[in-house]
Amino acid sequence: MAGDRIERDVLIEAPIDVVWEVISRPEQIVHWFSDEAQLDLRPGGEGVLTFETANQPAVYHLRFEAVEPPRRLAYRWVYPGGEEPRPGNSMLVEFTLAEEGGRTRLTVVESGLDHMPWPDDEKQGYADSHGKGWAGHLERLSAYAPAAPSRPLT
């Protein structure tokens, strides 16, 4: 994993239009992602994803950055809701679909923690004192990991 970017992909034995339906339609999204989904599927459109938790549901507001059926779907999400998702306060999730001889390659990239909202010199100072930005944070936080009781994380 390079810095703040997570990239994964999968090859699916189905046409690109079918894969697009599964990733973009609320009635399908609830089968692989959130417990509830309300989406205004167009560039700039907003959406709400709800995940059940032991306490109260976790609610995420998202905004679509790109809706280009059937090849590209991108949104930003921010937690907690109430703030406008924008670079600097939110994560960007991008799905890319590509045809591979009747099959479909689906790639997802989640990124955004690099977009520090403060000025460059300060950012530099921060990077210097904390390793390399987000990667430094990960290392730092990971240092705490062995201390905690190990629970399976699935």
């Binding site: 090859l11 995940f51 923690l113 403060w118 730092r140």
Partner: protein, 120 residues
């Protein structure tokens, strides 16, 4: 994993997905505990902003506050932080699981449609 546990992990990950909030947490890691006023003094954030971030971190259990006089002193919960660290390293694995589910659903839909088309 239960939907509830997944939601909590998602929430924990999301609570850290804001750079200023991460800085508040980071500043708090440098000391045993601190008040919002103390943190606001060393960060380019107002006390109100710091308080808001601490509330979000508190909601997911990453920090806990203890009232002392007029102010609340906050400290990091190391167990919960360790959990957050694991949640972060598990984000890629989580996407793998989601992609696997997308694959299963899409292939089932496709197979069903092919059968339906064959029946016609």
């Amino acid at each position: 994993m239960s939907a509830a546990a997944a939601g909590q992990q998602e929430e924990l990950w999301a609570a850290l997905g804001e750079p200023s909030r991460l800085r508040v947490l980071d500043a708090l890691l440098d000391r045993d505990d601190a008040t919002p006023t103390m943190l606001a003094r060393e960060l380019p954030l107002t006390r109100q902003a710091v308080t808001k971030h601490l509330a979000v971190l508190g909601r997911v259990g990453l920090v806990a506050g203890r009232r002392q006089g007029r102010e609340v002193r906050y400290a990091v919960d190391p167990d919960r932080l360790a959990e957050a660290a694991r949640a972060m390293s598990a984000v890629a694995a989580r996407w793998d699981r989601r992609l696997a589910r997308i694959k299963a659903i899409a292939e089932a839909v496709h197979a069903r449609r092919q059968v339906a088309a064959g029946d016609r």
